[in-house]
């Protein structure tokens, strides 16, 4: 007796978003990255299409990071030069660079918006892949910094982060004026996620210029809940909810690496196995969980975890 495969039919699909711009398109990138466009639940290739591979962006900071030695050992002597760091990430296989401007933090180095814009220019000059840029997390400062960054990268179709419910207007305006895309971040709340997309869209930024960051968690810190939120967004997108149909970005590198499991030394946690391996696996497994539920862009740190994740994507995409 033959088995009949039951196929679900969906009314719509995840929107496609293009990141970066080549010289023909007003930028200087040597390639662009297209994400989204999925017309099925993740990787059910028999039901619908997954036209674009999930992309991996590797994190670069404008100042030397306070990362664990388990991470920094892979990089060598690049942390004083964001440009060199970015190049290294491209060698590791990054599809995009995720430039985090922690140096702007008023509680830290308090770098000026002009300094931040200069760092972006250096990174743009050093690599050809599209760039994601995020401020330091201080709302007032980020509004100044991101305005300068958006202007300095005009035409590059940067992915700018982050727009939040209480602070989205200046970033969305900067993106509209200088032709960029924005990350809309909400705190693990599907209703606010949808509302923020509506608010940004109402300002005049088209839906294909928004990427959703639902806020993720690392393995062991509520990743199941992340999964359920992302699943609802995906089902919404497939059910023709245009306000939830944007591709999703997941900051797994940051989340996985702030867990104690990814950091505690072998001496302090002998029962957990070798730290180097733990650090890799914590990030790789967090990434693969997000992929399973439809992440389109993964922000990552550990190059070995990146290479494992790319292998995972190869397998998921092969039909």
């Amino acid at each position: 007796m033959s088995v009949i495969i039951v196929k679900e039919k969906y009314a719509s699909k995840v929107g496609e978003v293009v990141l970066g711009a080549t010289s023909d398109q007003g930028g200087t990138r040597t390639s662009t990255v297209t994400v989204g466009g999925d017309s099925t639940l993740p990787y059910l290739h028999f039901e619908g299409k997954m036209p674009n591979r999930p992309a991996i962006a590797m994190e670069v900071n404008d100042i030397p990071p306070t990362w664990s030695e388990a991470l920094t050992k892979h990089y060598g002597d690049v942390f004083n030069s964001p440009a060199a760091w970015a190049k290294k990430c491209v060698e590791f296989g990054a599809d995009l660079i995720y430039l985090k401007l922690d140096g702007a933090d008023p509680e830290g180095l308090n770098r000026s918006p002009e300094d931040c814009a200069r760092v972006l220019k250096e990174v743009l000059g050093a690599v050809g892949v599209p760039i994601i840029v995020e401020g330091c997390g201080d709302i007032a400062k980020d509004n100044e910094v991101m305005a300068a960054v958006a202007e300095a990268g005009a035409g590059e179709n940067l992915l700018l982060g982050v727009a939040e419910q209480d602070n989205y207007k200046s970033l969305a305006a900067a993106a509209m004026v200088h032709k960029h895309t924005v990350i809309a971040r909400t705190p693990l709340d599907i209703n606010i996620c949808k509302q923020l997309n509506i608010l940004i869209n109402e300002m005049g930024l088209p839906l294909n210029k928004i990427v959703i960051d639902p806020t993720v968690a690392g393995l062991g810190f509520g990743i199941e809940y992340v999964y359920s939120i992302m699943e609802r967004a995906r089902l919404g997108a497939l059910g023709n909810d245009k306000m939830l149909a944007m591709p999703i970005v997941c900051n797994v590198g940051f989340e996985a690496n702030r867990s104690k499991e990814a950091n505690m030394s072998n001496a302090d946690a002998p029962q957990w196995g070798d730290l180097d391996e733990r650090n890799i696996m914590w990030e790789a497994v967090s990434a693969s969980t997000c992929l399973q539920v439809g992440a389109a862009i993964l922000l990552m740190r550990n190059p070995i975890a990146v290479s494992l994740t790319k292998k995972n994507i190869d397998e998921l995409m092969s039909v």
Partner: protein, 266 residues
């Protein structure tokens, strides 16, 4: 919730006069206004304003002038299938034929036409003997239409079963039967067809101060029983708000504070 704007109907004086005088303005005014109100489709019905032999030409004209101002897909509402077919040929987007009952000869004509023009169909729960009171018979007619549509290959999302609501002031017993019909139509076939009502009929000839209330109340009740679409007043803002709110409360759409705006966005 899918809203068919009901206002372009020759039963209304301004539209009747416009049809006779071939004046596109009132039709175009209501096309735009209903689209702004929240309509997803525009129902076009010449009513008795135009003599039978001129109906085909009238539907061609209605389709043409409405499409000049609105991108919305159309619902061609007539018992005259020659008129509907003439209109269908000019529709830019897949239209809906409104309507057919459970009579085999009519179904043959309508479903053939629907398949040829990639159109949807409204199927009425009645036959030549009229509208039954009991939900049992209404459901039986619905299932005949569902089976026929399926035999012609019409996808169930393009079939709209209309259980037929009558005015509550003269036919109070029908509302409950309609609700029961909606429930059963949604459970008896898989995939289930869509459902639709000529909502305003429920308040026909009731005093003006309660017509909106009746329409709004019955819409909420009917959606809860399984209604997917309504031929209704797309410019009663509260009625449209209720349509949007039912989607949220039944979990068909994900809540966001601005859901009313999103519902109206095109």
């Amino acid at each position: 919730m899918i809203i068919f704007g009901e206002r372009i109907n020759g039963m209304y004086t301004d539209i009747g006069d416009a049809l006779r005088a071939k004046d596109p303005k009132p039709l175009q005014y209501w096309a735009t206004k209903q689209e702004e109100g929240g309509a997803h489709y525009l129902d076009l019905n010449s009513g008795p304003a135009i003599p039978k032999e001129e109906r085909a030409e009238a539907y061609e004209w209605m389709v043409k002038v409405v499409q000049e101002v609105s991108e919305l897909p159309l619902v061609l509402d007539s018992t005259n299938y020659d008129a509907i077919e003439a209109g269908l040929k000019l529709c830019k987007r897949p239209a809906i034929i409104n309507s057919v009952d459970a009579e085999p000869d009519k179904m043959e004509r309508v479903f053939t036409m629907a398949m040829e023009h990639n159109a949807g169909v409204v199927g009425l729960c009645m036959n030549k003997k009229g509208i039954p009171l009991d939900h049992d018979l209404r459901v039986a007619f619905a299932m005949e239409i569902v089976a026929t549509a399926d035999a012609y290959g019409l996808p169930m999302e393009d079939l709209y079963i209309d259980p037929l609501i009558l005015p509550v002031n003269v036919a109070q017993d029908h509302a409950l039967q309609v609700l029961e019909t909606l429930r059963l139509v949604k459970t008896l076939s898989n995939p289930a067809p869509r459902t639709v009502l000529g909502l305003t009929n429920v308040s026909q000839k009731s005093p003006a101060n309660i017509t909106n209330l009746l329409n709004r109340t019955f819409l909420a009740m009917a959606v809860s029983a399984g209604l997917d679409a309504a031929i209704m007043n797309a410019n009663d803002d509260e009625l449209v708000d209720i349509a949007a709110s039912t989607e949220i409360l039944l979990g068909h759409k994900i809540y966001a504070d601005s859901y009313l705006k999103v519902f109206r966005a095109r």
